[in-house]
Each structure stands twice: as structure tokens, then as C-alpha cells.
Amino acid sequence: MSQRNLLGGTVVFAVALGLILVGAAVAPYAFQLGGSAPADTENAAKQAFDADELVATPGPESGDVTMDSNAEPKTVLIDVGHENDVSESDMQPLVDALVANGHQVKYLTREDAQRDFNGSLRQADAFVVVNPEQPYTGDQLAGLRSFEDAGGRVALLGDPQSAGTTSVLGLITVSVSTGAVGGDAGLTSDYGVSFGSSSLYNMHDYYLNYENVYATPEGETALTEGVDEVVFRDAAPLSVSADSVSPALVSGGETRVESIRKTGPYTVAAQSETVVAIGDADFLAPESAYEADNEVLVGNLADFLVSGDKESGAPAPATPESGGEPGSAPGQGTAPTPA
């Protein structure tokens, strides 16, 4: 092989290789220059959602719990002696309003209830029951009835029963209807009111969550004076049968009961001259007491509690003739001793 041939071959090889390598190096840039349009920068995600239409905003927490009445100082007794599912902080707005207006608030402990239930009631003008989880004895119910007959005020507040538990205020009924008190009706049925066990909800008109239902006044009751609309979180429907009891607050027409999905409206609060029944206790808590007109309702409830003029000395001490044995619900655990 001559040097000329070798040189020529080498030159050709080098040039060809150089062209290939240069071409390979330039190609990516050429593809990029002539390649994709900047369409990918378009924000397709933003087109899928309109933030202004999506955002749910909590309403303002406003107002104060005020009382209108100028009643003489009264004593309000709050039951915490029947394993009541309520804490003192849950009732703080109501208690604060009562105390600020010169009234006294006491708590009925388990020991008080067992030792001298009637004696505790005798010193009170109003009795508040929230979510009791232990049955009342027959004597206790008899004493409470005497208390109310004498002009004492009674407030019954109950949330829907949670899964696996028994209807709280239903216990009152059960403990008597099965008990040894001789045909006495239960407390709530005495008043022609019974509490439903399933929650209300509304998929059409609600406050932030379908379980937070609105209720508006029905008729004219002192309990709803100044109230346009309240919010109940996890409310129970009430069934009102007695003529002496008037529905006070009613949920919207498209409210349903969760268990059976039957459409309302449903009564969620009722009032007679001496008794108020409300199928929700959460509205008393500080977190809910200032939503919508809830603070007006709390104030009206406080006014109701001090509106009575109970006869002194009622209820009388329990006697064997008045009922004797404690009523106890089957399977309800330890029954308290008679009052």
C-alpha cells in the first residue's frame, strides 16, 4: 500500500467520521429548534377548577349571649350525676350568662343524686338534663315531676344516640315504663315529647357540612324570640304529641333523618310552660354558640330557666309510698340508689 493510498484513505475516514460526529452533536439542537411548540406551558389544571366557585367559608362568630329577664336570683341545677355526656366547658356560654345576671348555677353530682335527689331539686328553681347515659330511678322521676308541678323549670337536651349506645333521654322513659313505679310514664313521654335516635341532615341547605342543619322558629314561643335561624350540629328530631307542648324550632323542608332518609321538616325544639326540649346540645358549646342566631337561643334558654316561680319545699322528700323501689332499665348497668 502506497503512502498516498494510505493517506487518502485516512483523510476520507477522518472527514467522514468528523461529519458524523458533528452531525450527531448538532442534531439535538436541530430537533429542539424545530421541535415542540410551547403548548405544554399552558396551565391545564387551572382550567379544570374555578377556585372562586369551590371555596367554602365559615360564617362569622358574632354576638353575645344576653338575658332579657330581670328575675330574682334563681338557682339552676345542672345534672352531671347520670353519666351525662357533657362537660362543664360545653355549657360555658349558658352558665356565664346565668351567673352574669346574678343567678346561681350548681352541678348535681352522682353522689348528690344518690344521697338526696329531691333535696337537691328542692334547693333549685330549674333543672337542666343533657345527654344522661344512666337511667333515672322511679323516685328521681317522681321527684322531678313534683318539681315541675311546683313551677320548677326543666330543660331536656339530647343529641342523637351514637352507634352502640342507647338513646340518652330514652333511658328516662325506659327506666320507668319497665320499673316498679306503678304505671308512671317516662319523663319525656309525660311531657308529650320523645327524642329521635338518628341524626338529621340536609344535603340542600346546610352550614359547611350536611349534618349542620338550619332550624327556624315555628309559631311564637319565648324560646325563639329574636331568633331568625339557628345551626344545630348533629340534631335529633323530636316527636311532639301533647297539646301543651308547642314546636319551637323546625328544620328545613328538605331535612332528612339519616337512618330512614325520610324527608322533613322536623321539630328540633319544643316548649311548654315549664319544659323545654331540644334535640341538640352542641349549640351550647362555645364553638357553636355564636353561629347564626345560636347566641340568642342560648340567652332565651337562660331566660326560660329563671322564669319560674317554684313553690318552696318542692319536691317533698321521697317516701316509700311515693314510689319506693328504683326503676332500672334492663341491661343498663348499675342503677343508682333511690333518692
Partner: protein, 299 residues
């Protein structure tokens, strides 16, 4: 005179060697050139959406769909779905990825077992949704843990730093519900016989019922969905390429308890080790965590 024959022989040798080299190089390059020059067969990509939807699942789907959009041979996508949903954030990401892909090529979904909540969200932009009678789809809703109380042994710069009010949490969950339900109505409103409120109940439906109320389009298998996707793309001859998700380990445990599907979150799919961060879920089934606030009846 003596050198002439030698020079000619040398030139021939060079030519022969060059020819051999050319053949060898050509043999090596020819298949590459052939493949590059030959027309690429059209493809339908089958992409799995399987199990609990986490950020990892969303990463995988986004990657697969990005590849489908970039690969010119892929003309249509079929989502092979068997999932109860999962993290709300991941579900939204997957919905958006499918939505973008559906703007460029036909996307058809086939529900193998369950296509509920976040998985249904993912399928919404599909041209068609195929189910079998035992498929379970729907559950259009959001759920999340209730606010956690602030700790007294720490100092915070603001009242909502560690927690928030129930109202605020409910508002957040309601906002996510608006997005989910709104997307369902946008994509399937014309087909649905249910109102917005009925959709928001978050009920699940079995396949046959879902074809009646518009949650799904028809009864069909995966092959039905592939055929439909190819037809939508105008393909007669095509290949099917399947993209299986890589196994994910150690985060989510699926178990069965009394016949009900139970999702146990060992680590928060949207939280972090040592921190109980708020969780928003778009999942169907029993979720075990404390103090749950449910955005809908059976989300």
C-alpha cells in the same frame, strides 16, 4: 515497472478491506436505520390504576401518561382500574393528568373490581367507562380527620399553627367536595340521571346500576375498552402496550375484616413521620383513624 503490479494489488487490497469494513458497519447499522425508517405501529397503552391511591401512585400515572402523550406511536389510552381511591391530593393529581391526556387522545376506562372515590375521580375525563355487573363505582365524597387539639407544651406563633377549628376543617373538606362533585357534573352531567345532591351523597353503585344512572357507560371487559379506545383513535391495526405499576411496599396495608374492606393507614399518605398532619381522603371503605369528620354520608 516492477512497482506497478504491487501498487495495483495494494489498491485492490484497500478496496477489499474498505468493502469488508463497509459491510460490517452496514450490517451493524442497517437494522437501526431500518427501524428508524420503518413506520412505527400505532399503539394503545393500557395503564393500571391499582390499589390505594397515594402520591406514589400519582407519580407513576403522571409519568406513564406523560410518556403516552410524548410517544407518537401511542394513539389512545385505556385505564385499567381497580382501586378504592386514596389521598385527595393524589387523586386530584391523577384526575388532572388524565384530563390533560384526554384533551390529546382518546382515554377509555375499564373498572376491574372497584373504581370508587379517588379512583372514580381519576376516570372522569374518560371517553367511556366500562364496568362489569360486580364492579363498584361512585363514592363521590371527601373525608378527613377532625382537628387535633393544640399542645400545651409548645409555643406557637399563631392560634391555628398546630390545629384549627371544626368550622375551618369542615370548610376545607366542603371545598374539596365542591371540586369533586363539580368535576363529576362537568364530565358526566349529561349522562347522569342523578342530581348534584344525589351525587354528593357519595353512594357507591354496582356496575349494572351504574350503567343505568350514568356513572358508567356500558358493561364491558378490558378488551371492550381497548377496542373502543382504538376505534375512537381511528385505528385498525395496532399494538397494545401494558404499563404495570411498580410494587409499593410498607405504607398501606389492605386487609379484610368481617367481609368489609378496611384501609389501615400505617403512615399518613399525605403526612410525614412523627407529624400527625391533616389528612384529606377520597377513599371508599372503612378508614381507621381517630375523630373522623366525614364530608359526606359514606365518602
Amino acid at each position: 515497472m516492477v512497482s506497478k503490479p504491487s501498487s495495483a494489488a495494494s489498491a485492490r487490497t484497500v478496496s477489499v478491506l474498505a468493502l469488508v469494513a463497509a459491510v460490517l458497519v452496514g450490517a451493524f447499522l442497517a437494522p437501526v436505520v431500518y427501524d428508524a425508517a420503518a413506520p412505527t405501529p400505532d399503539r394503545v397503552a393500557v395503564i393500571s390504576v391499582d390499589g390505594y391511591i397515594s402520591s406514589y401512585t400519582a407519580d407513576q400515572l403522571e409519568e406513564d401518561l406523560h410518556e403516552a402523550r410524548e410517544n407518537e406511536s401511542i394513539k389512545a389510552v385505556v385505564l385499567q382500574v381497580d382501586s378504592p381511591g386514596g389521598s385527595a391530593a393524589a387523586s386530584e393529581r391523577m384526575y388532572l393528568a388524565v384530563n390533560r391526556t384526554a384533551q390529546e387522545m382518546p382515554v377509555v376506562s375499564s373498572v376491574q373490581g372497584t373504581g370508587a372515590s379517588g379512583a372514580y375521580y381519576t376516570m372522569l375525563p374518560s371517553e367511556s367507562i366500562y364496568v362489569t355487573p360486580s364492579s363498584v363505582i361512585g363514592s363521590v365524597g371527601v373525608r378527613g380527620s377532625a382537628p387535633i387539639g393544640g399542645s400545651s407544651n409548645e409555643i406557637r406563633t399563631g392560634p391555628d399553627k398546630a390545629s384549627m377549628t371544626v368550622d375551618q376543617r369542615e370548610a376545607q373538606i366542603e371545598t374539596l367536595k365542591h371540586a369533586f362533585v363539580g368535576s363529576v357534573m362537568d364530565h358526566r352531567g349529561d349522562d347522569l340521571s342523578l342530581s348534584r345532591e344525589e351525587v354528593a351523597y357519595a353512594k357507591v353503585y354496582t356496575g349494572a346500576r351504574a350503567t343505568q344512572n350514568g356513572y358508567a357507560d356500558d358493561i364491558g371487559t378490558l378488551q371492550t375498552a381497548i377496542d373502543r379506545a382504538a376505534a375512537e383513535a381511528g385505528l385498525e391495526n395496532y399494538e397494545v402496550v401494558e404499563k404495570e405499576p411498580q410494587a409499593q411496599s410498607g405504607i398501606i396495608l389492605l386487609s379484610s375484616d368481617s367481609g368489609d374492606s378496611t384501609v389501615v393507614i400505617e403512615e399518613s399518605p399525605v403526612g410525614y413521620d412523627g407529624v400527625r398532619a391533616p389528612q384529606f381522603l377520597m377513599v371508599y371503605g372503612q378508614v381507621q383513624y381517630e375523630d373522623e369528620v366525614i364530608g359526606n354520608v359514606s365518602a
